[in-house]
């Protein structure tokens, strides 16, 4: 196996940095949509607090929105970095270079880490500064909560990229709604027990559901469930490994079918 060369990973990250630096239309979406989401849900939460007569919904509701948006930003961070290669039709030059698949994926993940961190900082600033959301009750659990969602976002970003690589550029429309498709099962706003049995079964294999269950437990003063947090971390790591295997398998397939060399339309194979 070829050793990972930092300069090749750096080239993928630098490409993203150049694109961001030169394009307002790429920079604004990094924080604009999540900021709008936090503002919207912040006011909804305020109104619900007023209706419930003092019961504070901010940690459970606004905290959930913030964490779910973070997951979505991570996932889209990976797929956006990949789609830049699709849109600029540079597969022949990129994959006809010494770049390896682990280096390419590491480059996408590093780019997504930076772009999602920007979104997270903006969300935190608005949620805490304007709507009084405090993560202090979560204490040391906040880091693993974010880590699990980060890993899960990376996994789905890589899977989304694999789908586009396999089915062609037109398949990018499968990628954008993925977080919305997952959200009912991830139990972002309600306990898993609310779901019917078959949905609960799916929910239990999604690491995100453990994060939101854990978050609600902390908000309700039940303390951090470290055991379930460990399960969700293991699940998330498993998803990342599986996603990398899927991408590598799809890459081998498109090498064999010739799709990579003729990557400009929908797959015909």
């Amino acid at each position: 196996m070829t050793a990972i060369r930092p300069c090749r990973v750096g080239a993928i990250v630098l490409r993203q940095a150049y694109l961001l630096r030169g394009s307002v239309s790429r920079v604004v979406p990094l924080f604009a949509w999540v900021a709008i989401d936090i503002v919207l849900w912040g006011f909804i939460t305020r109104y619900l607090n007023h209706l419930t007569g003092g019961f504070d919904l901010v940690p459970a509701l606004l905290g959930a929105v913030l964490l779910w948006d973070f997951f979505s930003r991570v996932m889209h961070g990976v797929t956006m970095a990949f789609l830049e290669d699709v849109w600029s039709r540079s597969f022949l030059n990129v994959f006809g270079s010494p770049l390896t698949i682990p280096e390419y994926l590491l480059g996408l993940v590093t780019s997504a880490t930076v772009t999602s961190a920007i979104g997270l900082v903006v969300m935190l600033a608005i949620a805490t500064g304007v709507f009084g959301l405090s993560f202090l009750p979560y204490g040391a659990a906040l880091a693993p909560f974010l880590l699990v969602l980060f890993l899960f976002g990376i996994a789905f970003g890589i899977v989304g990229s694999s789908v586009v690589l396999r089915l062609g550029p037109a398949a990018e429309w499968f990628v954008w709604p993925l977080p919305a498709l997952l959200s009912p099962f991830a139990a972002v706003f309600y306990p898993v027990s609310t779901l019917p049995g078959w949905m609960q079964a799916i929910s239990h294999v999604l690491p995100a559901s453990y994060v939101f269950e854990g978050m609600r437990a902390v908000a309700a003063g039940q303390g951090v469930r470290w055991g379930t947090l460990a399960v969700s971390t293991a699940l998330a790591l498993g998803y990342v490994a599986l996603a990398c295997l899927v991408f590598a398998r799809v890459f081998r397939l498109v090498l064999r079918t010739g799709l990579l060399a003729r990557y400009s339309a929908e797959s015909v194979s």
Binding site: T2, L14, S23, N93, G96, P98, L99
Partner: protein, 247 residues
């Protein structure tokens, strides 16, 4: 002479249909080999396999002695590629593109190498211009600069002068010939311009239906097959490949 490219028994099948059908050839350091043939003959399929973006159904490819199948990264570090159908990302400037692809190829003293190439290929004034707004000829020169960045042992050029005006095409040919004359690299060159092939290539391979039909010196090959020019030979290969195969 050291072989920078050794292709043996290369096959690419799509289902039952062979696009490349068991070809073997080599390119030596200091040699320019023309890969000729009508559309659909298998030239680009062959180049794609050597570039590692298409998996062969059978056969082996060695670049500078490195097996592409087992040592892909190392082999591609020694390979430069340029084609008019594979432009560099248009949303990045010339300098940004060269920097990124230089990093991908692990080029040392990259800034100095980029400086050298933008001067050599007359790209200085386009250095900070986005590639997407360059003319096709200018984009071809940028692609060539990218291909030469890592001082490759093997240069794959798929119709490198297709969109250039005659003066620029002549300069590009001179540049590549100078690179080869120094013994720095070997070149596999596809072109439909037979005048260019005759001028530049030391040896040509005629492909038809995925097989090598003829091989030889482009200046003597036409006469050996009773044709006046290389273009006549090309047309004959395109129209009646079987007749030539029997001959």
């Amino acid at each position: 002479m050291e072989q920078v490219l050794a292709v043996a028994g290369l096959v690419k099948r799509y289902g039952e249909r062979p696009a490349v059908d068991g070809i073997s050839f080599g390119v030596a350091r200091g040699e320019i080999v023309g890969l000729l043939g009508p559309n659909g003959a298998g030239k680009t399929t062959t180049i794609d396999m050597i570039l590692g973006v298409l998996a062969p159904s059978a056969g082996t490819i060695h670049v500078a002695g490195l097996d592409l199948a087992s040592r892909r990264s190392q082999a591609l570090e020694r390979t430069g590629f340029a084609a008019t159908y594979a432009p560099l990302p248009g949303n990045l400037t010339v300098a940004q593109n060269l920097r990124i692809f230089g990093m991908l190829h692990g080029v040392r003293e990259l800034a100095a190498r980029i400086d050298e190439l933008v001067h050599e290929l007359d790209l200085v004034r386009f250095r900070d211009v986005k590639c997407g707004i360059l003319s096709s000829g200018e984009q071809t020169r940028v692609g060539l600069a990218k291909a030469l960045l890592a001082r490759p042992a093997l240069l794959l050029l798929d119709e490198p002068t297709a969109s250039l005006d005659p003066a620029t095409a002549r300069e590009v040919r001179a540049k590549i010939r100078a690179c080869v004359a120094g013994g720095a690299c070997g070149v596999l060159w596809t072109s439909h311009n037979m005048y260019e092939v005759e001028e530049v290539c030391h040896r040509v391979l005629f492909l038809s239906h995925g097989r090598i039909l003829l091989e030889g010196n482009p200046r003597t090959l036409p006469r050996e097959h009773g044709m006046a020019t290389l273009e006549d030979l090309f047309v004959a290969v395109a129209r009646e490949p079987l007749a030539l195969e029997v001959a």
